[in-house]
């Protein structure tokens, strides 16, 4: 972001008093400018604090005993920091249901992400660079499917999975996630692959490389930024999903969102399980968010229309 505009910011500065060829601002204007700027900074800090407060509150509450949580608000921790304890986390990590469901989340999310990236990239390459009849229409179909709500498919797909004998299994959840992740994946990657200079593909073909090799050696490395964004988007989408697993997973195969939702029926009584559980489930997305913020932002922006 450019900082060039920082001194022409505030409405308190009369027009034509900023820098450049214009007259220098008088002392009053300069004072108002500084004052306004301080005010703006304060406002921004307040907004940030306001946005963080809910998550911060849950974090603190997850570190307090259930007795404390039912008696007083988490903010009393500022006057009595001795309340803080890791007991809840220790207990949740010994809670088989929670630990298993976290593991289920991994078992669902990793294959769903890998398959979407792999099948999406292959399909996108075919739609971008291979010549075959009906390709145009297939791409229109893919684009049309991007916005299809999962609700129109869950009842029939439940029946299909039942016929296949995988209803309730992790594989059913994965299959559904992959199917609904593909349209966007293909769309995103095809558009990116199209921007690969034709010469590079030609050169590879000249060297006698087959399509698979071109795909692996030329397309994938060049398409890496888009693939990373897609992978992160898909990963978070699946990691955070609740509906699909509610419909297709049995309780044994439930991911963490499902398991925590079960615990929520009587909320205030078991905040000591739900709080740490929710935080553990947020841990991976937050790490992804802070580690890959750039790709993350791009992935979310690109995939938001889903």
């Amino acid at each position: 972001m450019s900082h060039a505009t920082t001194d022409t910011v505030l409405e308190l500065v009369p027009a034509g008093t900023a820098r450049g060829g214009r007259p220098r601002p008088g002392p009053w204007a300069r004072f108002m400018m500084r004052f306004g700027k301080a005010l703006l900074r304060l406002l921004v800090v307040l907004i940030g604090a306001f946005w963080l407060l809910p998550t911060f509150g849950l974090a603190v509450a997850s570190l307090r005993s259930s007795a404390d949580n039912s008696a007083t608000g988490w903010w009393t921790v500022f006057t009595a920091p001795a309340q803080l304890t890791l007991d809840n986390y220790a207990q949740v990590l010994q809670n088989e249901r929670i630990v298993e469901s976290l593991w289920n989340t991994v078992l669902i999310t990793v294959p769903s992400t890998l398959l979407v990236v792999l099948l999406g990239a292959l399909g996108a390459y075919a739609l971008a660079w291979l010549d075959f009849p009906g390709r145009d229409w297939l791409f229109v179909l893919v684009v049309a499917l991007i916005v299809v709500p999962v609700q129109v498919a869950i009842v029939p797909d439940a029946r299909i999975f039942r016929v296949l004998g995988i209803y309730g299994e992790i594989s059913a959840v994965v299959a559904f996630h992959v199917a609904f992740g593909l349209p966007f994946a293909i769309f995103l990657l095809r558009n990116f692959f199209l921007n690969i200079p034709r010469d590079m593909l030609e050169a590879a073909r000249m060297d006698g490389a087959r399509e698979m090799l071109i795909f692996a050696r030329v397309v994938l490395p060049i398409g890496w930024p888009a693939i990373a964004s897609l992978a992160i988007f898909q990963f978070l989408w699946v990691w955070n999903d609740l509906l699909v697993s509610l419909v297709f997973a049995t309780s044994d195969n439930a991911p963490i969102t499902y398991a925590l939702r079960e615990q929520m029926r009587s909320f205030s009584s078991n905040l000591d399980t739900i709080g740490p559980g929710a935080f553990l489930s947020m841990l991976v997305p937050l790490v992804v968010f802070f580690a890959f913020q750039r790709y993350f932002v791009q992935g979310v922006l690109a995939g938001s229309g889903k």
Binding site: T8, A15, D136, P149, Q151, A153, R261
Partner: protein, 483 residues
């Protein structure tokens, strides 16, 4: 947004078509593919022609095979798990709940008439009208604010972070924020303390008149049973104040001595440890300080107001003769404000929309920021040079220039809001799910959450599908335009 390809060349219809001429040299080892004769040979113009021609044919056959290989798995999944189910759902929506018989449009009629689904549709309407507009507006404001500050990246990260966490985690987080008990829920704690800063809580809520005493309840307060005249001492006995709420400055009550005007006492007619007589100021009983007392004339007008002292005494020294009713008005006894039932029936939808905005305002901000960064600086400079102030520049230059971005954000959020499910499902307690429900949630509840009415569920799914159809057509048209 570097991954978004240049729209000018983003979507080309047949990029490979123009490449067929290259085939003469660029052949890979054909292998078994070469042997496979295909329909491609039939319409060849002059039988087997030049080597370049056969090579081109072979290339195109290979391309088809490779395409089938590359695209096949994705296509099978899409056709089986997405396309076919759409048709199946459409069919189911005309069948009875268990799918056994054809019912025509009954499910659609039920969808618009049964209270739960109607509620869901109306709620979704509220969602669509409110949530995208508010989130986009906030996003625009945040983008403009952060554009003007150094180190704004921190704020952007903070505002965007909710996008990373699940609706479930957001739901858990905000169940805590919205907790009705102001001792636990931070929002009600804030609301209550703001409220109490303006309206001081009354000390004496919940008290009662002593039975057979001189007081009778009226309009939330109390008044003397009959008219009284100056010179007659008035004893107003109250009971039912818990010991921990007896004011610390309260002193033992003393019976009014009589004097000029009208005098009296308001006291807690309760002797600790028992004993004492009803209606009599006994030793050990305390007066109730800071009570507002009104003298009301025959016509009903308040002619004088007094406050009790620490011993509960009050006096109207200058009162003219004539009967009065002595009244302890209701504001002495107002119940304390205990906060808002955010997750109850009346506030649940705004409460959930609030959380949605908490999550998506950051998204809007990032998109708008990208739009702002691409604005031509000259336009803004020119406006300022012409004497426009910041607000005018914002209103007449910035907003029109970023309007396309705002439209994209609005459309995106609208599609997103139409399908909202998890957040409502998680945040709304069972008791208010009927009031909070939206189409996607109702679809789930009807089909899976105990209802097992696949007919009605499918009709709701078709409704959702119909609602996103414009977005689908918009996407396809944009695709066609770009190509």
């Amino acid at each position: 947004m570097t991954i978004t390809p240049d729209p000018a060349q983003g979507i080309r219809p047949f990029p490979a078509q123009t490449t067929t001429g290259r085939a003469s040299v660029a052949d890979g080892p054909g292998g078994p593919l070469r042997a496979a004769g295909g329909p491609g040979h039939r319409d060849a113009p002059g039988g087997p022609g030049t080597t370049a021609e056969t090579a081109a044919r072979r290339r195109s056959r290979e391309a088809r095979l490779m395409a089938a290989l590359f695209l096949g798995p994705a296509l099978v999944l899409l056709l089986v798990l997405v396309c076919y189910p759409i048709v199946y759902t459409l069919w189911l929506s005309f069948r009875s709940g268990d799918g056994s018989k054809f019912v025509g449009f009954d499910n659609y009629v039920a969808m618009f008439t049964s209270p739960n689904t109607r509620r869901a549709i109306l709620n979704n309407l509220v969602w669509v009208i409110v949530a995208p507009a508010v989130a986009t507006t906030l996003g625009l404001i945040f983008a403009v604010l952060t554009e003007r500050l150094r180190r704004a990246a921190v704020l952007k990260a903070v505002l965007f972070m909710p996008m990373a966490i699940s609706f479930l985690a957001a739901g858990v987080t905000f169940r805590l924020v919205y907790d009705e008990n102001p001792d636990r829920g931070v929002l009600n704690a804030a609301v209550v303390s703001v409220h109490d800063a303006f309206v001081s809580p009354s000390r004496y809520y919940g008290v009662d008149a002593r039975e057979q005493g001189d007081l009778v309840p009226t309009d939330g307060g109390f008044q003397s049973r009959g008219p009284v005249n100056p010179g007659e001492p008035v004893r107003l006995a109250l009971v039912g104040l818990p010991p921990d709420r007896i004011p610390t400055d309260a002193r033992p009550a003393t019976a009014p001595a009589g004097g000029p005007g009208l005098q009296g006492v308001v006291w807690l007619d309760f002797t600790r440890g028992g004993g004492g007589q009803a209606g009599i100021v006994d030793a050990g009983e305390v007066g109730l300080p800071e009570m507002t007392v009104e003298a009301v004339s025959d016509g009903g007008t308040v002619v004088a107001t007094a406050r009790t002292d620490a011993a509960g005494r009050f006096a109207f020294p200058d009162l003219a003769s004539g009967p009065y009713v002595i009244r302890l008005p209701a504001d002495n006894f107002t119940e304390p404000f205990n906060g808002v039932t955010w997750l109850g029936p009346s506030f649940i939808t705004p409460a959930v929309i609030g959380v949605y905005i908490w999550i998506w305002a950051g998204f809007a901000m990032v998109l708008v920021s990208a739009g702002l960064a691409a604005l031509p600086r000259e336009a803004l400079e020119a406006a300022r040079m012409d004497g426009a102030n910041e607000w005018q520049t914002f209103r007449h230059v910035t907003v029109p220039l970023v309007r396309p971005v705002l439209v994209v954000v609005l459309v995106t959020l609208t599609i997103n809001v139409l399908k909202i499910f998890d957040l409502v499902y998680v945040l709304a307690p069972e008791s208010s799910q009927d009031d909070a429900t939206v189409v996607a949630l109702e679809m789930y509840r009807v089909s899976f959450g105990g209802g097992l009415d696949y007919g009605l569920g499918s009709a709701l799914a078709v409704l959702l599908f119909a609602l996103v159809l414009p977005a689908m057509l918009f996407n396809i048209r944009r695709l066609r335009r770009n190509s």
